[in-house]
Symmetry: D2
Subunit: 311 residues, 4 copies
């Protein structure tokens, strides 16, 4: 299978696409990103790396960071995490608030904002935000094997200044007793969302989820094999907001999107993939990124719903 040829063709199609969606504009740093960009990186299980388009341009990974924060939280408190956050898909933003009220302040899953804020509270433990943010940054550099990974301070500040809905969610959960330190956890949360990475760095960072939880460079388990599998399951059912079912239906690969236009996608035992294009569809997921992954799945047979022989 000639991956390079496949992603070159995809990149050509995406670069020429007319309808590119609309980039997030709730903070200036996201609004001014050039929507014409598209990048893709594929890191194979055997270590080969393929890139095309703007695969080495940094973008704000935003909600994709929730996958890594979840991995850290599981390492810290294990299955106890699931007493504070659920594992069920959540539907629309509208529903997420209704459900939070209906279900006593327990967010539906760790990939909606409310759930990710609880995860931040867990990762923080009783610690200092500054240190926790440093831990997260070091964790990503380790996973990506790249010390250039940075947090975009402008984005972090903007998130904090405009994040009223997240502040509301955190306080709401606190009223149900499901938050320890609202202010510090939000600080961590806003910084993790501001991680700035390239497609290549992101695909590298996702390798442990391809390899049963093992960092292929160091050979150490980042998470246990069973947890790696379960994080992939969560990505499949909950990774794309209210477009998760659609993504599973069309693409069939566990993935997590962010409003910065990035998507990470994991084919267990095969490849870690990152795509990026700033324009979003009406569910808040990268329009061309989703389409590129659908094309990639068609061309390679990569889908967890394909018989292994068909891949």
């Amino acid at each position: 299978m000639d991956i390079q040829r496949i992603i070159d063709a995809i990149t050509a199609e995406m670069t020429a696409a007319q309808h590119r969606g609309k980039a997030a504009d709730y903070i200036p740093a996201l609004a001014r990103v050039d929507p014409a960009q598209f990048g893709i990186a594929v890191v194979m299980a055997d270590g080969r790396v393929f890139t095309a388009g703007d695969a080495r341009t940094c973008f704000s990974i935003q909600s994709i960071s929730k996958v890594f924060a979840l991995s850290m939280a599981l390492g810290k408190v294990g299955a106890d995490l699931w007493t504070r956050v659920g594992r069920e898909p959540s539907g629309s933003a509208f529903n997420s608030v209704v459900q939070l009220e209906h279900e006593g302040g327990i967010p539906r899953n760790p990939f909606i904002n409310a759930g990710a804020i609880v995860v931040s509270d867990v990762v923080l433990g009783g610690g200092e935000p500054r240190e926790t943010i440093g831990d997260i940054l070091r964790f990503l550099r380790y996973l990506a094997d790249d010390d250039e990974v940075q947090i975009d301070q402008e984005v972090a500040s903007s998130e904090a200044e405009t994040g009223f809905r997240n502040i509301a969610l955190a306080n709401y959960m606190k009223s149900f007793g499901n938050m320890h330190n609202v202010e510090s956890a939000l600080k961590v949360y806003f910084h993790q969302c501001a991680l700035s990475m390239t497609c290549l760095q992101l695909a590298m960072a996702g390798r442990y989820l391809v390899h049963d939880g093992k960092h292929p460079g160091t050979g150490r388990q980042v998470v246990t094999a069973i947890r790696a599998r379960r994080i992939n399951a969560l990505m499949l059912t909950c990774g794309h907001y209210d477009g998760s079912g659609e993504f599973a239906f069309r693409v069939g690969i566990p993935g997590k999107s962010g409003v910065g236009g990035g998507i990470i996608a994991i084919v267990p035992g095969e490849a870690s993939i990152a795509v990026w294009s700033p324009g979003l569809n009406d569910r808040g997921n990268s329009l061309l990124g989703s389409l590129a992954l659908e094309r990639l799945s068609e061309a390679t047979g990569w889908s967890v719903f394909n018989p292994p022989g068909a891949r």
Copy 2:
């Protein structure tokens, strides 16, 4: 891999289990089923068949029928179906009504009751309920390769007599213009839920979803390969009511449960599985059936989130 030994061990565990959940009791025919039963059948991709426990006892397949009705509807109207029903997970029964209102009478997916009633309306087309019910019965007999598959008329009648919530949903969707024939569609729906099958018949009936949509006996496509894959995706994200995320997380195999205590589970390219135990957990899925599939996944490595080599 010695499947027989594995399922014998599972059956021994399930037969001895103390906590067996509570059987559905909203109609007499379900309430009087002996909760001590447990059955499992595995039909391998290569045609080998393994059974254990009460694998040849008939039970009411209930919502499992939604998988087969969906397959028929896709054959009838193709992708047009998706203008009338969504593909996103739906959360609790509470949410399903809220969402139906919020989303203008379009049910979230074909596996919640509202969605399945729309599917029945589609399968019915402009036809007669009696004929459509006959078509469904013949379809199941063909899939299972067994003319003994029956519809339990007592169950069908009881469903019709007590199904006020389903009647409400159908009329509600009609008020939004998303139903053609409320009465006939409900008749079809109540009868398809009353299909009475054994684990063995059910596992046989699921074979086309293992084989890229192809009936392995006749070699004919029941659905296209892409649709088979997508039905599996829908089962994974939406197949277990508000326990779908949990099932994906723990078991990682596309499946569909019914309140009769049955579950069908599909490992693409590997096996079609049916389990049955009448007691339900708090999400309305077979308690021991879910646990048995978790055990089976652990023992065999069957999970769409496992690297192919790990299976």
Copy 3:
């Protein structure tokens, strides 16, 4: 106070009004009503009658009938009614379904559709729809002192043919055990909504609510004094769908509107008023009817929130 002069001036203003709202069009009989019409009738506590505009034209009283049905139900089962229906305002149609689910099938109040359907079920008792409908018609003729009051059979039939949302609500409540006979109760409900009356007849029919529950013609109590007061309280808090607060705020008189464009309004001890103009505002209440009552309140000082001396 020269009531005739006041209502003549109001009628002149309403007849000349540009913005008249939009008539209900969900059934043909309502859709073809001439929107240019406006009528008002005031029956004073001392028996004097004032009319202006189209006060003697029949219109479909629709939800106004809920006031009379409630009076009948209270006569039949007394305070037991309140175990099956609440007394709290209900917000939007959206909320009424959410609340019905949230509150276990008990409608918020007898003036939303769900509540009125329960009231119909109560008025029906174990009886025949035909007889109950006859009872309701006789009750209205007695209250209005006019044997010309009729039920519009075309409207009743149209309501039944298009009332899917009401059928849904009834079945939904049945699923919670809060309906005895869905079909018969709906038949009664659709017929009571189809009562056809003039402003004059309606204002006459409302007299008992002005006179502490007593029919001023016969001197007999239609409802007890305390119940008359409480029906008025319910009209004030719940009489205008999601515009009830607004109506209380602007007009300050207990009232009940219908989608036919009519409104009945009761000033305890002072007057029974009926207005009618087919065009509705965005909350489903007669646009000019509401405005006319606001003008009447301003001109007469009639408002339950005005000190008695200020009237």
Copy 4:
């Protein structure tokens, strides 16, 4: 009418009552109030004052302050207020969040917490919390004609420390653009809720709503006559959380309750009444306070739904 005899009898009944409800306990200062207390004060339109029981004991007026803050806000921005807050009843706390989401961050009315926080934001204008809090305190002293009215700093601090749900609501509205200064507005809100007053002071403070908006001591308009009437209308439809309909039904007098156990009630042109008993019913309103007002209404004929002659 011998008001003193009536309220003495009521006080005797309430003092002897077995079921007294449960006092609010979310902050220590409320939790430690002796539940055995009951007080009532009636200030007649002609200036006569009647008190009984613990009418001179201070209690936390909590949400009753919303009536006075609304009066200030209307004086400050007039009808523009209604672009930021609605005038419709709101149902349960559950619904208030659902509705806030459904209606784009516009609270249903100024007497639910979200609405009162918007009102605080309006009263604050661009000012300093400290000054605004001073203004509110001076306003209450002026209305009550009593410089002893205080703000309980312990209560204000506790409210701020535990008010996560209110902080959530404020930030939530901010995310919709319906708050200017979250932190300062909340500071004002928490302090106004901490106003500590006696029944006598509270009944005195309510006099302007009896007198068409005019302070009977100074003869100056606190609010215009039409606004006084409308504030009374809002109290009737929205003054008792999800028990507003019930209170209108049973008592029929505009009123506003607080979780401190106090209720203010206004009979236009007749009397300003304050009752207090710490135990709450299941809707969060004073159990004995509500009952006492029902008794008072029965004994005096005071109800806006009674014909004037019947009072």
